[in-house]
């Protein structure tokens, strides 16, 4: 794999062809992760649009893209998707006023918890988390980021992220135990020792 984003100085000093090559390399390497991130949070068409807008921002701000670009790219994608949701909500609100929207439920923006689905208690438990907590957990569990990378996406310190994501895990666990009070303890299947005895 070609090294990317090394030795980037002033954007104006870069030749257009060099910038294009760097952008293409960035796109080919990291586009699948950005698209996966977007697809967990939006329908396919909106996700593709978010990918395009994310990489347009990357193109415009190429000198700012760090050597480890994935947290930076996901932070941009997160903002793009948030803008999309707000725009969709405004459009649907207008449709409703014009009598074009059949159901108020259409105001509900796509949510990552919906992707997990009502079929799973996990989805229900996720829906009970605050948006920040849910996003933090999913960045780690689904996007494969470590705490330092996820903290960059969430624009907080790694220490603060670690505390908050730990609390989010506990909240998710508590909610799951409320939903599934009779669920078998997975430790029983693998013979783990019981805690507190």
């Amino acid at each position: 794999m070609r090294p990317i984003l090394q030795g980037i100085g002033n954007e104006e000093a870069l030749l257009t062809s060099e910038r294009s090559e760097r952008l293409k390399s960035l796109y080919e390497t990291y586009c699948p992760r950005v698209l996966a991130y977007a697809l967990r949070r939006a329908p396919w068409e909106d996700a593709e649009e978010a990918v395009a807008e994310t990489f347009i921002v990357a193109w415009r701000r190429l000198p700012e893209v760090p050597d480890d670009p994935i947290p930076w790219l996901l932070a941009v994608a997160r903002r793009v998707l948030a803008n999309q949701r707000r725009a969709n909500a405004r459009r649907k609100a207008l449709d409703l006023r014009l009598g074009l929207a059949p159901r108020p439920e259409s105001f509900v923006a796509p949510d990552p918890a919906d992707e997990v689905g009502a079929r799973m208690a996990l989805g229900d438990a996720l829906q009970h988390l605050r948006e920040w907590d849910r996003e933090a957990l999913l960045l780690v569990a689904w996007d494969g980021l470590d705490n330092r990378q996820a903290a960059l996406v969430m624009n907080c310190s790694p220490a603060s992220f670690a505390v908050r994501v730990h609390r989010a895990r506990r909240l998710l666990m508590q909610r799951l135990q409320e939903i599934e009070p009779n669920a078998p303890d997975p430790r029983a299947r693998v013979g783990w020792p019981e805690e507190g005895r």
């Binding site: 952008l23 699948p32 649009e49 193109w59 689904w142 666990m173």
Partner: protein, 58 residues
């Protein structure tokens, strides 16, 4: 149940694995999006409109 178990369960519920999309950038649609990005970038930093709702190549 432990928090570690919850995270394993959450990981297993991942609806989209990025590795499944590894070939998307080389697909027709992926290349179309790339051309659109490069085209927008070729206009320069002040020539790019973000979030204008356009789709595909224009």
């Amino acid at each position: 149940m432990r928090t570690e178990d919850v995270m394993k369960r959450l990981e297993a519920a991942n609806p989209i694995d990025a590795s499944d999309l590894a070939n998307w950038p080389a697909s027709d649609r992926g290349q179309e999006i790339l051309r659109r990005v490069v085209s927008a970038g070729s206009k320069g930093p002040r020539g790019v409109e973000i979030g204008n709702g356009s789709r595909g190549l224009h």
